[in-house]
């Protein structure tokens, strides 16, 4: 839509007709060209992006675009609603109401990009329920599903408002903790781990959670797959160490790890302080 804005801005001084404005924007904005066949829709979109001058011309014209298509507006609203629904179906796990794996993959990239931009690490929690199969085997799949819903609810209560909890499939859950260091992630993971055995509906099944955590730091060479793999292998560590525990991967802040947080601009400013102080010292005749 930015393109359209730009296409409509120049030459405000020249008098224009409705047709000129429309044809100019349609030819200059590739996005609009693509939806040219439903020209009326293009016009609606256009109205949002018109320069004040163009808007004025359109409003004065006898063919006011909005007035033409009251029904069209309704259609667009309905389409938009449907679109929102379809997107939710595509991104939400139907059983638990958590985000699904597809959403998780997209969001993970976003959070890794955020870490690269802000310098603040993010963490990934990979959770696998221990002995979940026992519920399915002894109490039936319906109870198993009910239990998973409870787990999803508990998990959502244990994380913070900014954390993103997803069902990864089966009895596996993941959570992205944006702007979070490993140390804090461990605390959150433990909160959840301790809550799992308290969840009702699985008496005698001895269900617990094995949790793997990986931390992605700004200096980390990982891509999204590596990040997931790290959490996954940490989770298997937790399993092999006897389940019902938290295991970690990644940078447990080590000595001098924080020094990378000073950016070049800051470094330059500090160097100039140093030079300033040094030169003053030298001129003291010392």
């Amino acid at each position: 839509m930015m393109l359209m804005n730009r296409a409509l801005l120049p030459d405000d001084t020249q008098p224009r007709t409705v047709a000129e404005i429309l044809s100019k924007s349609l030819s200059e904005a590739p996005l609009l060209t693509r939806i040219k066949e439903s020209e009326s829709r293009a016009m609606i979109i256009l109205l949002d992006h018109l320069s004040p001058n163009d808007r004025q011309i359109l409003e004065k014209s006898p063919h006011r675009v909005i007035d033409l298509e009251d029904d069209l507006l309704k259609t667009i609203a309905a389409l938009h609603e449907e679109n929102v629904y379809l997107r939710s179906v595509a991104l939400i796990d139907s059983l638990t109401g958590l985000y699904n794996g597809r959403f998780f993959s997209a969001q993970l990239e976003t959070e890794m990009a955020r870490t690269r931009r802000t310098g603040l690490p993010c963490c990934l929690l990979m959770i696998d329920l221990d002995n979940f199969k026992t519920i399915n085997d002894t109490l039936g799949h319906l109870e198993g599903d009910r239990f998973l819903i409870q787990v999803a609810r508990t998990f959502s209560q244990c994380v913070r408002a900014t954390d993103i909890v997803c069902r990864y499939g089966g009895d596996e859950f993941v959570a992205i903790l944006p702007s979070t260091r490993l140390f804090v992630a461990i605390r959150i993971a433990n909160r959840f781990r301790k809550a799992v055995p308290e969840i009702p509906g699985a008496t005698g099944c001895n269900v617990s959670a094995s949790i793997g955590i990986s931390e992605f730091a700004v200096s980390s060479p990982w891509d999204a797959n590596d990040f997931i793999q790290a959490a996954d292998s940490a989770m298997y560590d937790a399993k092999s160490k006897g389940r019902n525990q938290v295991s970690t991967r990644g940078r447990y802040i080590s000595i001098n790890a924080g020094l990378e947080s000073v950016n070049p601009e800051e470094r330059k400013a500090i160097s100039s302080v140093y030079e300033n102080v040094q030169s003053q010292g030298d001129s003291d005749g010392k």
Partner: protein, 250 residues
């Protein structure tokens, strides 16, 4: 008896060798002279050196508290300088990379112990490790020691930035150590303060400076505490001035 909650001051620097331990010990001694009940905790868990600085040879350390069943009250020792001291163990590999539970445990036992004191000084390690960050979070006053070297300025700034980014702390007290004179110290402080203001959006607080004097390395070499062995020397007077300011934190 007043029942104020204790001042817990972390002493950090980022770079090693800037004088954290010297500052911690001498300020603690000054505060004790002023009648305060003071505890020094050696938080440099892998490379402890407060014990060396004051010439004691502790039998038990924080290590026994974390990995053994020692009570921290039994680990704390009284020093002849009037303050109490919780030692850490030097060269204990397992203390270098403490895990989450270990640091939480140390914070918990120190939190209880601290209630018996007016002021607690946490001499943190070099670098910006997780434990250094956690001790800074545990403290209610954060002190940063720096000197005139470029690496010290950069590391001090990095420490401030990370603590700010991690915990949202935006109040730091600066001690300029090993400086030529007050004028130079103020100049260094003003510059680094303006950089903080510009990039992080908050000012720093000037806690004081300690001038360089050859009695400092000499007293360290002899394992003497300067404010006792050379109490009329300029560095000792400066330490005393810093302690004076810290009393007002209560």
């Amino acid at each position: 008896m007043e029942n104020k909650s204790p001042v817990i001051a972390s002493i950090s620097s980022g770079k090693g060798g800037v004088g954290k331990t010297f500052v911690s010990v001498n300020i603690a001694a000054c505060l004790a002279q002023q009648g305060k009940k003071v505890l020094v905790v050696d938080c440099d868990l892998g490379l402890a050196n407060v014990d060396v600085m004051i010439g004691v040879n502790p039998r038990f350390t924080l290590k026994e508290v974390v990995f053994g069943d020692m009570d921290v009250n039994d680990v704390a020792i009284q020093t002849k300088y009037g303050f109490d001291f919780v030692p850490a163990s030097s060269g204990a590999a397992e203390m270098v990379q403490l895990m989450y539970e270990d640091i939480e445990k140390i914070k918990e036992v120190l939190g209880k112990l601290a209630q018996q004191y007016d002021l607690v000084i946490l001499d943190t390690g070099a670098g910006i490790s997780e434990s250094v960050l956690q001790f800074n979070l545990f403290a209610n006053k954060n002190v940063i020691v720096l000197n005139r070297e470029l690496t010290s300025l950069t590391d001090a700034y990095a420490t401030i930035k990370v603590i700010y980014q991690t915990f949202g702390r935006d109040s730091f007290n600066i001690i300029v150590n090993t400086t030529r004179n007050e004028e130079e110290a103020k100049k260094i402080f003003n510059h680094i303060g303006s950089i903080c203001n510009r990039f992080l959006g908050f000012p720093l607080h000037y806690l004081g400076h300690i001038v360089y004097d050859e009695v400092v390395p000499r007293s360290i070499m002899r394992q003497e505490v300067l404010v006792h062995s050379h109490n009329q020397s300029s560095p000792a007077i400066h330490c005393s001035a810093i302690a004076e300011k810290m009393v007002n934190w209560q």
